[in-house]
Assembly symmetry: C2
Homo-oligomer: 351 residues x 2
């Protein structure tokens, strides 16, 4: 039953469900005043006083969302928390608590799960979020993570997907496409490793992209920056599935169209180099790569001066009437309609 061959590791059966969760969460100490009761009862208790409570949940499965052959468990734990917190930042809210449920097969050892929780705990510490509960169960196949983030905000600061107005500016934080190029590099190294397990790849020239893929950061800093700059976006979303897909979400919820300018898309130089090496279109990586966990939002034109030339923010387009649809304006001035699933069909149109 126990597949791990390393006998110095501790099989899960040695602990059992109740002891496992006690063991993994023994170092957890609440950091937020709003955490009235954390792990150890039927439910956690949270006091958000007069603020609104916000809640968001994510499900991450081995073989679908992550590949443990190049994703260290510590990074997986960290990233899982980032993915989850990112949704609350996308509402302009402050995450305060998370719950983490895991299903694991017997091929994982107690030490492996400790690694996972090291990443989870580090993320909680860095983002001042309390782990307040969860569920632990065995699985017949692989590792599954289910996270729920709870946060709060005052009513007047909450930003939904639905508030974009015609003529608003479309703004994105950071840069785009690097999580995707990082994934391409990792997938290639995995293929090389299968053929030659002794290969020692030099990945230094891909380090930014690989870090974006393996250890993304949720944009807490952007939420704090917006508050400092006294800006409340009219609509906002985080970029998990790709810029193109997220623009379509804002378009649908706000009932508006968008013009996005290809030449304004922020790209790290490394993304250009990797795209060249892999013979991949950089615009496609930026539009459809996904997993950037940047924030995409719209602001009123009157707020433009506040963000002009800010190194963390790029104005990439503006809001149009609904019936104009969502259009990418290329460097040559051509209009191409944005699609959600399809960088393939999109590629076809570009060629």
């Amino acid at each position: 039953m126990f597949e791990d061959k390393n006998t110095s590791k501790t099989p899960l059966v040695n602990l059992g469900e109740f002891k496992l969760i006690d063991h993994l969460t023994q170092s957890v100490k609440p950091q937020n005043k709003s955490t009235v009761l954390g792990i150890g009862d039927d439910a956690a208790i949270i006091d958000h006083s007069n603020n609104k409570t916000l809640i968001s949940t994510d499900l991450l499965l081995e073989g679908i969302h992550f590949d443990l052959s190049y994703m260290p468990l510590k990074h997986l734990g960290y990233k899982a928390v980032m993915v989850n917190l990112s949704d609350l930042y996308a509402m302009n809210a402050k995450p305060t608590q998370i719950t983490v449920s895991i299903a694991v097969s017997n091929r994982f050892t107690v030490e492996a799960l400790e690694e996972l929780y090291t990443g989870i705990n580090l993320a909680c510490k860095n983002y001042k979020v309390d782990l307040v509960g969860g569920d632990t169960t065995s699985s017949t196949s692989g590792l599954m993570l289910s996270l729920t983030a709870i946060g709060n905000a005052t009513q007047d600061r909450i930003v939904k997907r639905s508030g974009a107005q015609e003529h608003d500016l479309l703004v994105v934080s950071g840069d785009l496409g690097a999580a995707y190029t990082g994934l391409q590099v990792l997938e290639r190294e995995k293929a090389v490793f299968k053929v030659n397990p002794n290969s020692q790849p030099d990945l230094t020239s891909y380090s930014y992209s690989i870090e974006r893929q393996l250890k993304p950061e949720a944009r807490k800093d952007i939420i704090e920056l917006l508050e400092e700059l006294d800006i409340i976006p009219s609509s906002m979303i985080d970029i998990s599935d790709g810029l193109s897909s997220e623009i379509l979400h804002l378009s649908k919820s706000s009932e508006v169209g968008f013009h996005v300018f290809e030449e304004k898309l922020p790209l790290d130089p490394e993304v250009n180099l990797i795209c060249e090496e892999f013979k991949f279109n950089t615009t496609t990586a930026a539009l459809n790569g996904g997993e950037d966990y940047e924030l995409l939002f719209t602001i009123a034109q009157k707020d433009f001066d506040k963000i002009k030339n800010h190194p963390l923010l790029s104005v990439i387009g503006h809001v149009t009437e609904k019936n104009m649809g969502c259009q990418l304006i290329t460097g040559l001035g051509h209009q191409i309609e944005l699609t959600a699933q399809g960088w393939q069909s999109f590629e076809g149109e570009k060629n």
Copy 2:
């Protein structure tokens, strides 16, 4: 890729993730004033005003927690919600919102997931809870459900596991063991069906037990009853893993011992009959069967008159000093120490 052979059904690939969740949740309408924003944004928004927010989460996996060969998907959806709400009732809180995340393999059709959501929606309607979010993803093996329940209570009404005091009475709602005997009957029928797929079992004499296994109800009514009777338990937990295991949880959290009287354990007559048929000890079914989703709580002796002879409540024991441990007092007056895992080792001691 698509394993379903019935061509009148709709394969999941026809919809895609975004449309699937839209499709399954299109009939969802908020019932609670506290649901400010439900499905469709990065996070749900909840307003619990000056009340405390409570949160609890559960992970349910095919092959571990449920067997679709005898668990209809509608019942599975209903039961998954009950399991989750039961945790909030166990805090003496009122559940108001849930999130439901699902991972499904391609062997499920859109119609199958509609069945699942029919059960989820019925549970939400019956318990006046709003479905406010979730995540949908594909799975490489089977069906997984992750639910998070959010609720609220005023600080003075919240009941933890940790408040039991020496001399308090130990009370349980409803009856015990029937979910377990129901499972035994269903497992037997599954085995019979494998040998003879044309068998037409008559299960009418097992109907209560089967219903307890397939369609349990969370004890909202007990929480309402306690309020009516003006009782705030000193500690409380719901019975998911079995009475014995839950008593040990209360013991650990409250740092007390318990005396439980075998002859006071409430049993439905059907449980006695099935136990006789299966040559199974009824006390073991009641103590270690699990999945009863009854509430187990302690009350001060001064509250005894309020619950005396109430048909829904049974006093089954009392709180002792910590160093006396958790003891079952048998009909013959013998003391047997309660254990969590082990009805096997326990059985050994009884024989």
